[in-house]
Structure formats: structure tokens, C-alpha cells
């Protein structure tokens, strides 16, 4: 369960981040404003509160509310996607703006459309620049998956809590769970450093 949530969370957050970053550097002011508002709001509010909002407050919306009763897993994953996605927007925007202006001008001179400039020239370079920060964000998302247990999803942490409720040996179990997370986080960190080396310029 933890791995599933982390998997969909990472993909969702990358999609949100890419779309948001493209909007942040768009020439259209309303798109920029919308992306900025989204990013600042979800970056500056706790993911746990976002999850609670999605799970418990959204269904109370007058009118459409009853159609918005999300399964707990979906609400939890969505909350993580919004928070970490907003952080990804900032990371990728910084990456895109770090690509020298000449690259975009050259791509425009070759007759590439705006979308193609992004797709073939800007994003591949921005991703390399942003990779260390993106990697940290993936790790942070992985650790934040523990929050989903608080609305009743049985992830690794939720399972441990369940077992503890039955047999009451919490200290050892929390330690075990902590170590499992730690191993995963260390593996992820190693993976990203290897990826950075692979993709490094030159």
C-alpha cells in the first residue's frame, strides 16, 4: 500500500509540477497568476490538513458535495500530489529559468512551436538541473505517505498500528517500521545520486 501510494503520488506530483511550471513561465498573465496562486497555497499549508480537507470537508460542499466522497486512499494520495506537486512546480520553474535564454531563442529560430520548444529543448535540460531537488521531493513524499494512515488507510505504518493495537508491543514495532522507511529512503537517495551522475552534463 505504501509503495502504491508513493508510486501514484510521485507520478501525479511530476505531472502537476510540469504543467504548473509551464504555466509559470507562460506569456499569458492569467495562467501565470493561477499557477502562482496554486503553488503558494499548497506549498504553504500542511499536507495533513489538505488530506483532512479532501477526505472530510469536500463531501460537505453544498450541491456537488455528495458526489465528491472520495475513498480514503484517493483523498490521501490526492493530498500528497497537491502538496508535493506544488513544490515540484517551484523546482521545475527554477530549473527552466536556469536554462540559458539562447537555447529557447535558437529553438524558436529553428521554427519549433512553443510546445515543441518546451518538449525537446527546455524540459530535458531543466530536468537535469532540477534532479537533485526533485529527488529530495520524492523522498519527502515517500516519508509523507505515513500521513495516510491517519484517515484509516492501511499503509505500512497503519498496519503496524493495527498490530500494536492487538498485541501491545509498540516500541519494537515502531523501531522496525522506522528502520524499513530508513532503508527505503537510503535506497532512493542512492538511486537519485546514480541518476544524477548518469545524466550529468559532459
Amino acid at each position: 500500500m505504501t509503495l502504491e501510494i508513493a508510486f501514484f503520488g510521485v507520478i501525479g506530483a511530476l505531472v502537476v509540477g510540469t504543467i504548473g511550471a509551464a504555466m509559470r513561465i507562460s506569456p499569458a498573465a492569467p495562467a501565470r497568476a493561477a499557477a502562482t496562486a496554486f503553488t503558494e497555497f499548497f506549498r504553504n499549508t500542511p499536507p495533513l490538513v489538505q488530506i483532512y480537507f479532501l477526505a472530510f470537508a469536500l463531501p460537505k460542499l453544498p450541491g456537488i458535495g455528495p458526489h465528491l466522497i472520495l475513498p480514503a486512499v484517493v483523498a490521501a494520495t490526492l493530498g500528497l500530489v497537491l502538496h508535493q506537486g506544488a513544490i515540484n512546480v517551484e523546482i521545475l520553474r527554477a530549473g527552466l529559468q536556469a536554462v540559458p535564454e539562447g537555447q529557447r531563442e535558437a529553438a524558436a529560430a529553428l521554427g519549433l512551436s512553443r510546445l515543441d520548444q518546451l518538449r525537446y529543448v527546455l524540459v530535458p535540460q531543466a530536468v537535469r538541473i532540477s534532479l537533485p531537488a526533485l529527488g529530495n521531493n520524492v523522498i519527502s513524499l515517500f516519508k509523507n505517505t505515513t500521513l495516510v494512515s491517519s484517515i484509516g488507510v492501511l499503509d505500512l505504518f497503519g498496519e503496524a498500528n493495527d498490530v500494536i493495537a492487538q498485541i501491545l508491543v509498540s516500541a519494537e514495532l515502531f523501531l522496525t517500521v522506522g528502520v524499513v522507511y530508513l532503508i527505503c529512503v537510503t535506497l532512493l537517495g542512492t538511486l537519485f545520486r546514480a541518476l544524477e551522475k548518469r545524466l550529468a552534463f559532459g
Binding site: 504553504n44 500542511p46 495533513l48 469536500l58 516519508k143 498500528n161 516500541a171 515502531f174
Partner: protein, 212 residues
């Protein structure tokens, strides 16, 4: 509407607790960060390794697991902790590990020539650190420390899950009493966190631009 208005005072009290948690944790984290960070910037490689291990451990373990361990796990080993103390301690060691990286990074970023010049003037190791390196490093630490405070405020919401009556827990209690106020209450809580955290992260960005 009525039960929403009734909820306001408890939310304000909750926000007060959130601030208390965040400020106490920040103070401990800064102290911890300075001790660990300075040690790491000076320690020889063999000594640095265990310190690095400690930092990576507390950075890598999810905060919620740490909090649960301190609150539910420690009493089993014979150490009683109150909810607030467990929450503050968990936030403090987690943020302390991050703070130590900030301190170490800032110290290491000060050009070696500064240390050498101070040594040439006959200053001892600690005098160099205290009078030459740290005053310069402080400027570089300030923006990430401000950002760290925003992260602590945000992360302090996890304390609600071990029954600390912070802002989120106050909201949960009100919603439990009357599920119909869930929408306005949780919206208020989201906005409250945003109103607190947005200026802090703006300040951090401004400082970053100005000081570097």
C-alpha cells in the same frame, strides 16, 4: 453557522498551541543544529561518520513514526512522556538534523583563506570559529533557518495525531461534535496555516536574495 462561530475560540487556542510547539521546537532545533553542525564541520573523517549517521537517521525516518515512537513507544521502555513533550521532542530532533546541515553547509562555504588568515594572526581553533567563521556564516544560515521555521509550523500539524490540541486537533474535535461544520472549519484551518506560513516563506526568499 452557529456551531461554526462557537468553534472559533477553540481554533484560536489551537493556533496558540501550534505556535508554542513550533517556537519550542525551533529553539531546540537551532541549538541542536549549532552543536551538531559545528562539530561536523570540524571533526576528522573517522569522527564525522557516526555524526553523519545520526543526522541521516533523523532526516530519513518519517516524522510521524518518530512522534509515535516517542509517545507510544518510550512509555513501554519505562519513560513516560506527555503529548506535548513528545511532539516537541520529535519536531526538535527532526528539524535539528536539518538545521545541522544548514549550519555545516554555511560554515564550510566560508572561504578557507578566512580561517588561514585568522590562524596567521595567532587565533586558536575556537576563536577562529567564534570570531571569524560563524559571524560570516550566520548571514548564509538566516534564509534557510527562516524556511525551516515554516516547515516546523507545517509539520507541527502531525501533533494532532498524538492528541495534542493544536490547530488541527481543535478543528477535528469541533467536526466530531458536529460533522456539518467540516467544510467551513477545515477551510478556516487551511487558510490560517497559509496566513502564518506564506509571509514566513516570502521573508525567507527575500532574505535569500538580499544576503547572497
Amino acid at each position: 453557522m452557529h456551531s461554526y462561530l462557537v468553534a472559533i475560540p477553540s481554533l484560536v487556542r489551537g493556533l496558540g498551541t501550534t505556535f508554542e510547539l513550533a517556537i519550542a521546537a525551533m529553539a531546540c532545533a537551532v541549538a541542536l543544529g549549532f552543536v551538531l553542525g559545528t562539530l561536523r564541520s570540524m571533526a576528522p573523517r573517522a569522527l564525522d561518520l557516526p555524526l553523519l549517521g545520526i543526522v541521516e537517521f533523523f532526516r530519513g525516518i518519517p516524522l510521524l513514526v518518530l512522534m509515535y515512537f516517542l509517545f507510544f513507544g518510550l512509555p513501554q521502555l519505562g519513560l513516560r512522556t506527555s503529548n506535548n513533550a513528545a511532539a516537541i521532542a520529535a519536531l526538535a530532533v527532526y528539524a535539528g538534523a536539518l538545521a545541522s546541515e544548514i549550519v555545516r553547509g554555511a560554515i564550510v562555504s566560508i572561504p578557507l583563506g578566512q580561517t588561514e588568515a585568522a590562524a596567521a594572526l595567532g587565533l586558536g581553533r575556537f576563536a577562529i570559529l567564534r570570531l571569524v567563521v560563524i559571524p560570516q556564516a550566520l548571514r548564509r544560515m538566516l534564509p534557510p533557518f527562516v524556511a525551516l521555521f515554516a516547515l516546523i509550523v507545517e509539520s507541527s500539524s502531525l501533533a494532532a495525531l498524538i492528541d495534542v490540541t493544536d490547530l488541527l486537533q481543535a478543528a477535528r474535535q469541533n467536526v466530531e461534535r458536529d460533522p456539518d461544520v467540516a467544510l467551513p472549519i477545515y477551510l478556516t484551518v487551511l487558510v490560517a496555516y497559509f496566513v502564518v506560513n506564506y509571509p514566513i516563506s516570502l521573508a525567507s526568499q527575500r532574505l535569500e536574495k538580499r544576503l547572497t
